[in-house]
Amino acid sequence: MTTIQLVIQLAYLLSAVLFIVGLKRLSSPATARGGNSLAAGAMLLAVAVTLLDESIVSFEWIVGGLAVGGLIGVLMARLVKMTAMPQMVAVFNGFGGLASGLVAAAEFLSAGAEGTPVSLDASISIMAGTLIGAVTFSGSLVAFGKLQGVVTERPVVYRAQQVVNGLIFATLLGAMAWLVAEGGVLAGLEPDALYLGLWAGAMLLGVLLVIPIGGADMPVVVSLLNSYSGLAASAAGFVLGNNVLIISGALVGASGLILTRIMCRAMNRSLANVVFGAFGQAPGAAGAAGEVRTKADVNAASADDVAMMLAYANKVVIVPGYGLAVAQAQHKLRELADHLQSRGVQVRYAIHPVAGRMPGHMNVLLAEANVPYTQLYEVEDINPDMPSVDACLVVGANDTVNPAARDEPDSPIAGMPIVEADRAKHTIVLKRSLSPGFAGIDNELFYKRNTMMLFGDAAESIARLVEEVKLL
């Protein structure tokens, strides 16, 4: 090992350590920003020392690539709206997967060009890197399309879907085994052509794996693809024999897996059920059996009634759902909370893990509206206190406050943790209509005696509440 190589390797080790320390600092909002900067610095270090590598002889493409990629990255990071964060993370996951897959591809082609025999380990690593990278790339693009609304959010299902996907996967495994064992020289079939086919097949598989998953299950998919992008980087690390790639990729892989598990638990569903279940493909099926209920069956309230109740309460809990973000009402909501707090009302927010479109999404949306994170509470922390809450304000949430999850063992969402809005002394629901949520089931909460419904657009309703509270 030359001195330069030694320096490079030690710098990589330092980078890996700094990534771990940086992630560790993400365990508190107070230190998180410093942790992110530390990880960014570690990445800069890794890039800088890589440029010392003697095998790098031409720099013009490197400079160009860094400039183009950097510019696009800066623009995207600056311009993206916080509501669009899930689709941007999806795109970034895809790019990460693509980069890792291409590194594996370059290694495959260079071995072929030089005619050097590749070891079994390296060969397997190349195939794994290609498969994971390509699946991550195309799967992330479909996830982006769904979140952005370019591709239908509804699950796309067809007959024998899992059999077809299984066959494609088996074929890919066969092709990979052939490429590893024989170099792919099969009856005039060039290894490079077979390898190209592997890319195409893996990308097709990525698309097919994501299209059957419904819009509201996207938090799970984005988390899972996040994990894949990490594993793809690890696989590229195995290909290159580079430990910093292996370590960093493993950290991200672990992170994505943890978030995936948290999201699945928050919906009380198994990962297999999310990935293969095509949940929500038949909305209304469950509700159709019962009698049709209308607005006449609920307590429709006016803005001044609701304002009165909130202003004279001691404790108010706000339960935001994705509808809040869609209506862009989080800033108005904070204004309402400010007015209440200045009157001495204690205001807290109950955040369900799947309230947004990715893990922690709602927290970011509220942080953007300048809501202090110290006012945000997790479901299990707020529920015990619910009976002493005077007014619980539900904005744009539905399934996450549906008592059926707790009370009805037969419900499709049975066992899913919910914010127990129904246990508050009074519940106020801001909603456009009585339409069911994503799970397609009726919500008993709306029909309870101590529930008031304030119909209308969330942003407009909250604006009216602010005006009414000011008058009191």
């Binding site: 790098i56 493409w61 970034f92 291409l102 950290l251 942080a367």
Partner: protein
């Protein structure tokens, strides 16, 4: 199976465990920044892309390397920057009343 790959497997498995330990402690309120930050870290493939793009072994490799480099750079730069943008917004009770 050669010794080198075995060492790599060791490194991978231990790093996974480290990841589980460290990331389990991240509170839900920071899960989105965690994801975008971790995402930026997975752009570490940029290291591999740099080498491929700079090998000077013909057009094919340069093109593959450069495409990988652009993709990884977007991932890294965009990921860390947007994470910073989000984390800047997180405020405690005390400083929330002040100007943004």
């Amino acid at each position: 199976m050669s010794g080198t790959i075995l060492v790599s497997v060791y490194v991978f498995v231990l790093a996974m465990f480290t990841g589980f330990e460290v990331i389990t402690k991240v509170p839900p309120t920071l899960h989105t920044p965690l994801m975008s930050g971790a995402n930026a870290i997975s752009g570490i493939s940029i290291v591999g892309a740099l080498v491929v793009a700079g090998l000077g072994e013909g057009l094919l490799f340069t093109v593959i390397g450069t495409v990988a480099l652009v993709a990884a750079t977007i991932n890294v730069v965009g990921g860390f920057m947007v994470t910073d943008r989000m984390l800047r917004m997180f405020k405690r009770d005390t400083d929330a009343s002040g100007p943004r």
